[in-house]
Amino acid sequence: MRKWQCTTCGDIYDEAIGDPDSGIAPGTRFEDIPDDWMCPTCGSTKDSFEPYTE
């Protein structure tokens, strides 16, 4: 499981957690999120995310 970061607001999408509020189940790989998904914090589009390593 990997993490991705929103370059606009810095939010982390953690594949292990998903984004249940937007119907993205825990364990969903970033690639498998629909293209019209948005950052739950700021509303940036999916292409604003980058791989994130701590």
């Binding site: 606009t8 810095g10 019209d36 948005m38 739950p40 914090t41 700021c42 509303g43």
Partner: protein, 411 residues
């Protein structure tokens, strides 16, 4: 980028904030092979400012995590960093800037990204040590040290920063009063429905409001002990937060003779009145096609879009279509996302029930969505972003009908 860049052309960026930070990364992403230097007077690499009033101030995230990019990024990308250094003057004809210590640096293209600074109030007592503004990490550190349980906090200004600080201060157990001289909150930047909704949410969390009220003075010998309001009331306090807006940091540009008018006047490509000097971010006033007039935005998405635009121009690439301005804020568990600017001539319709704490206000002008304010409602924001950009004709009634599918309406 593994090859060492050639020395020319040299892009010099002044201001290592959101706009400057986004620009240098974007230039390399677009394949810019020349030299890049990023100068900033703060001691930090570019960092996310929005959490300074929210998650960071609450102690939910660390300073390290605020960085836009890891520290190694700049070296890997051959981006020269000069942090903790301040540019003191620009010499446009010589293509050169002068630092505080008198040394100079030549450039081929100069990008100004010096942002904005917190506005001060011309009232007695604003200089007291416990009267704090919030623009950068140093301000935020002072504020965090001062925000404690049971402290009496008076926040001057009911805009986004004031309200975000109010929410954070309540979460930390402080007593909070917000004083606003306009008759309502967020007067310039949100609709009355959203302002009313947010006010009642803050009241439910224990925040007190004094609207329609000015400030006569901040009292106290060395430190603020009370705020005296225009109606004569005295609000005792341990801390005052000034959230009365920001002013563009345009003095370098002004002194260099660039055209300025509430920020540096730039064209759609963010080029100033001098062809080799660009300005981006909070300091730039730029024409926005859908509004047909120049507007100075103060937002992270705005800074990012302008940075991408300049990067495209400097790399000779076709720039992407202009974005409709958008913004977000969060207070308590409320996520507010706005696309478009408030237009008082538009008709507004509410979709969803504010009592459910998930709803949106659509603003429609001549069948076109010009603005959407969404509270805890990403689908409405997403549809609004599409509609505002496409201009697809809509009717207020279909937007108000919660059973009508938004994706279909926006498609």
């Amino acid at each position: 980028m593994s090859e060492t860049p050639i020395a020319k052309p040299h892009v010099l960026v002044i201001g290592a904030g959101h706009a400057g930070g986004a620009l240098v990364g974007q230039l390399r992403q677009f394949g810019f092979a020349g030299r890049i230097t990023l100068v900033g007077d703060e001691p930090h690499t570019p960092y996310h400012r929005p959490p300074l009033s929210k998650a960071w101030l609450k102690g939910e995230t660390t300073t390290e995590k605020l960085a836009l990019k890891p520290g190694s990024f700049y070296e890997e990308q051959h981006i020269g960093l000069r942090l903790g250094e301040r540019v003191q003057a620009i010499e446009p004809d010589a293509h050169r800037v002068r630092f505080d210590d008198g040394t100079t640096l030549d450039y081929d293209w100069l990008v100004l990204a010096t942002g904005a600074r917190a506005r001060q109030l011309p009232i007695p007592g604003v200089g007291h040590s416990n009267v704090l503004s919030l623009r950068n990490l140093a301000d935020a550190e002072r504020l965090r040290n001062a925000l404690k349980v049971d402290r009496k906090v008076v926040i001057i200004g009911g805009g986004y920063i004031g309200l975000e600080c109010a929410a954070t201060a309540r979460a930390l157990g402080a007593e909070v009063t917000v004083v606003e001289h306009a008759p309502r909150l967020l007067a310039r930047v949100a609709s009355a429905s959203i302002a009313t909704f947010l006010q009642s949410e803050h009241e439910a969390q224990g925040v007190q409001f004094r609207l329609n009220t000015g400030i006569d003075a901040i009292e106290g010998e060395h430190a603020a002990t009370a705020v005296r309001l225009s109606d004569g009331t005295r609000l005792p306090c341990d801390l005052v937060i000034l959230g009365v807006g920001a002013e563009p940091a345009a003095e370098l540009a002004l002194a260099a003779g660039l055209a300025c008018d509430d920020g540096v006047t730039v064209d759609a490509d963010c080029r100033s009145s001098h062809p080799d000097i660009f300005a981006i971010g909070d300091m730039a006033k730029r024409p926005i096609p859908i509004y047909g007039r120049p507007i100075r935005l103060e937002s992270v998405p705005g800074a990012g879009e302008q940075a991408r635009r300049v990067a495209a121009v400097l790399c000779g690439r076709e720039p992407s279509a202009p974005e409709v301005p958008w913004f977000w804020s969060d207070q308590y568990d409320l996520k507010l996302q706005i696309v478009g600017l408030i237009d008082t001539d538009a008709t507004s319709v509410v979709r969803g029930d504010p009592a459910s704490r998930s709803f949106a206000v659509f603003h429609v002008k001549d069948t076109r969505v010009v603005c959407v304010e969404a509270i805890n409602s990403p689908p409405a924001f997403m549809a609004g972003k599409k509609l505002a950009a496409s201009g697809k004709p809509v009717t207020p009634s279909e937007l108000a009908d919660s059973s009508a599918d938004l994706k279909t309406i926006a498609a």
